[in-house]
Each structure stands twice: as structure tokens, then as C-alpha cells.
């Protein structure tokens, strides 16, 4: 049976273990977290005035990459919205920027129509303006998926690894070579006996097996335990990302089984 256990969590990072599922499920969850979790990002910019040194398109690109805090209950995907893709307050949000130099323009200077949809960090530099230079623009953000552009991707460095099972057999002569050889410090020597103390950091390099003269170390990779870790870009909490990804997977299979049930009736 599938189970999940969260090891470390804060606003931007998470580390958790999934147990009782195959590596295929783990990989699907990883792919779902990367490409099935929608986030808001600017994809259209109206530039009214730009007397700064940066070109309009470079400026628009920089604004597009700013992560925005996303409330998925509040916004619809543009193509699935009731306005049929024309753009309305429930599928897009506009951010205004009106600044004059001399100053460095930060993401915090963007003024959003919706007070909850603001840049995740207000210290991302956009452009430097000299005295007399002016910038006036309106940016429109919408929801999108990571498959379209990485600015819509909620996670960074999302990956998983197998948590193996390392057993030290009785033939171990406590030589301590594995403790020295292991680059991740998985083993430790406790009063002369070798113990596995930090199994989560094992990278399956098998150096301990190679160095052991007694062949006393056994590594089992088929444990169906996976250690996931990822960071978010600030658009939503890591927990929310996992939930949305699982719900997306669930939605697909619910739709699929429903269609197949209809087929079996026919």
C-alpha cells in the first residue's frame, strides 16, 4: 500500500519518502509535478513607455520569468475559462509598472490588480534606470503548464532516488574500510562495530561492496522506497504541488476508466 512520509518541509523546500509504490509510479509523480502543475506567469506585456536602455522584448522576457503567487482555486486555465479564452478576471491578472529613474526596478514594484497575486519575491531586479528614464507597462499573467514554457513550472530540481536496504552480515570483521571509502558517510563505527547510520544519503555507488574483503555488505535496491526532494519557485507551497500533481494524475485516470467503462457496456 502506498504511503507518504514527510521528512523536512519549509516554505520553499521539501524532502519526503514514498513507500509501497513502484519506480514507475515514482517517475510519473515526478513528471506530473514538473509538467502538470499550472502556475501563473506573465505572457503578454503592453509597453507604453520605455526610455531605459533595455530592449522591450528583453524586458518582457525578464518580467515573464518572475514567479507569481498562484491560488489555483481562484483562476481557471484560459482555454477552459467561461470567457472562452478572451481573457477575464477569473483567468488572467494584470500587473502594472510605472517607475521613473534613477533607480533599480525590482519585482516588488509591480502593482497587481489582485492583492493576493503578487510576485513571490519582491527583490528580483528587472532593470536599472538612469535619471530621466521612464518605464510604463502593463503585463498580463495567465495560468500555464511547464510543458509550454519553464516559467509555468512550479518546481525546480525535482527528483527522486531509491532508498536501498544495506545489510551487514555476520562475516564482517569490522575493518572499517567501508566507513573510510563511503563518500556519503552512510556507515559509522560504533565501539568497533560497523553500523548503517545515514541510509538516506546512500547514492548506490557500491564502493563499500567493492572495498569489503569479506563480502559482508549486501545492498538491496528493490525496496520500493523513494526519497523525493524538490524546491518550489515560490508560486505555491511544496505540499500544494504534491497534492495538485496527485490530483492531476487521479483526474486523468478517473476520466480514462470512465471512458473504458462506457466501452465495455457497448
Amino acid at each position: 500500500m502506498a504511503s507518504i512520509q514527510i521528512l523536512e518541509i519549509n516554505k520553499l523546500k521539501v524532502k519526503f519518502i514514498i513507500e509501497g509504490v513502484s519506480e514507475v509510479f515514482a517517475n510519473s509523480l515526478r513528471r506530473a509535478m514538473i509538467s502538470m502543475v499550472p502556475t501563473l506567469a506573465v505572457d503578454f506585456v503592453d509597453i507604453y513607455m520605455n526610455s531605459g536602455l533595455m530592449y522591450d522584448e528583453v524586458l518582457a522576457h525578464r518580467i515573464g520569468l518572475i514567479p507569481l503567487k498562484t491560488d489555483l482555486e481562484k483562476y481557471n486555465l484560459k482555454e477552459k475559462c467561461t470567457c472562452s479564452g478572451e481573457g477575464c478576471p477569473s483567468c488572467q491578472v494584470s500587473l502594472r509598472l510605472n517607475v521613473e529613474g534613477p533607480k533599480t526596478v525590482y519585482s516588488g514594484d509591480l502593482i497587481s490588480d489582485d492583492p493576493d497575486t503578487i510576485p513571490a519575491f519582491d527583490n528580483i531586479p528587472i532593470v536599472k534606470l538612469k535619471e530621466g528614464q521612464q518605464l510604463m507597462l502593463e503585463a498580463t499573467a495567465r495560468l500555464g503548464f511547464g510543458t509550454e514554457h519553464s516559467k509555468y513550472q512550479a518546481v525546480c530540481g525535482c527528483g527522486y532516488k531509491i532508498i536501498p536496504e544495506i545489510t551487514i552480515e555476520d562475516s564482517c570483521n569490522n575493518c572499517g574500510k567501508c566507513v573510510e571509502e563511503c563518500p556519503r558517510d552512510v556507515f559509522s563505527s560504533n565501539n568497533g562495530t560497523i553500523e548503517v547510520t545515514d541510509i538516506y544519503s546512500c547514492s548506490l555507488c557500491y564502493l563499500c561492496v567493492k572495498v569489503c574483503e569479506e563480502n559482508a555488505i549486501q545492498i538491496d535496491e528493490n525496496t520500493n522506497r523513494f526519497l523525493f526532494s524538490f524546491e518550489v519557485d515560490g508560486s505555491m507551497t511544496p505540499l500544494k504541488v504534491i497534492k495538485v500533481a496527485l490530483n492531476q494524475l487521479k483526474e486523468r485516470f478517473a476520466e480514462f476508466t470512465e471512458k473504458m467503462e462506457k466501452l465495455s457496456v457497448e
Binding site: M1, A2, S3, I4, I6, I18, V21, S22, V24, F25, N27, S28, R31, A32, S35, M36, L239, I242, K243, L246, N247, L249, K250, R252, F253, A254, E255, F256, T257, K259, M260, E261, L263, S264
Partner: protein, 87 residues
């Protein structure tokens, strides 16, 4: 997700599953192969950019197996979601 039935018979099923990729299909095939009544299950995307994946199953009752596999995945997802809601 749009499912187009390309071929259906008593012991085989061929589907075109539009708008999906490895995330869904690899998982489905893996769960199908756990079923003893399934002889063969595989999917192929003719072209990674323009093609739509085609799923082929041969077994005693492929439609029944597909429903069973789909429900098993839903169950696993549900377990994880309920546990996450408690955190």
C-alpha cells in the same frame, strides 16, 4: 484526454490516447503488466512532437484489465492524497 478506439476484439484492444504522454501511459502499462490475464501491453508514440500515443493490449479481457489497472492507480493516488491532507 480523448480516446479513440482503433481496434477492438475479444482478446485485443488498440487505443489512440490523445494529449497524453509517458506520465500517464507508462504508469498504465506498468499496472497492466502486473495483471496475469494480460499477455501483452505496450504503448508507442509515433513521433515525440506530432504523434499521439497508441496503446495496445492483448489478453483474456483487455477492456476489463484496463479498467482494473486504472482503478488500482486511482486507489494508490487516493491513499497518498488522504495521507497528505492529514499533514
Amino acid at each position: 484526454m480523448e480516446v479513440k478506439v482503433l481496434n477492438i476484439s475479444k482478446d485485443s484492444l488498440k487505443l489512440e490516447i490523445r494529449g497524453e504522454n509517458h506520465t500517464v501511459l507508462n504508469l498504465l502499462v506498468h499496472y497492466l503488466l502486473k495483471d496475469d490475464s494480460v499477455e501483452m501491453a505496450k504503448y508507442n508514440t509515433p513521433h515525440p512532437l506530432v504523434g499521439e500515443p497508441i496503446l495496445e493490449i492483448i489478453g483474456e479481457n483487455p477492456v476489463k484489465s484496463v479498467i482494473k489497472a486504472g482503478k488500482k492507480i486511482l486507489e494508490d493516488c487516493d491513499h497518498l492524497i488522504t495521507q497528505l491532507n492529514e499533514v
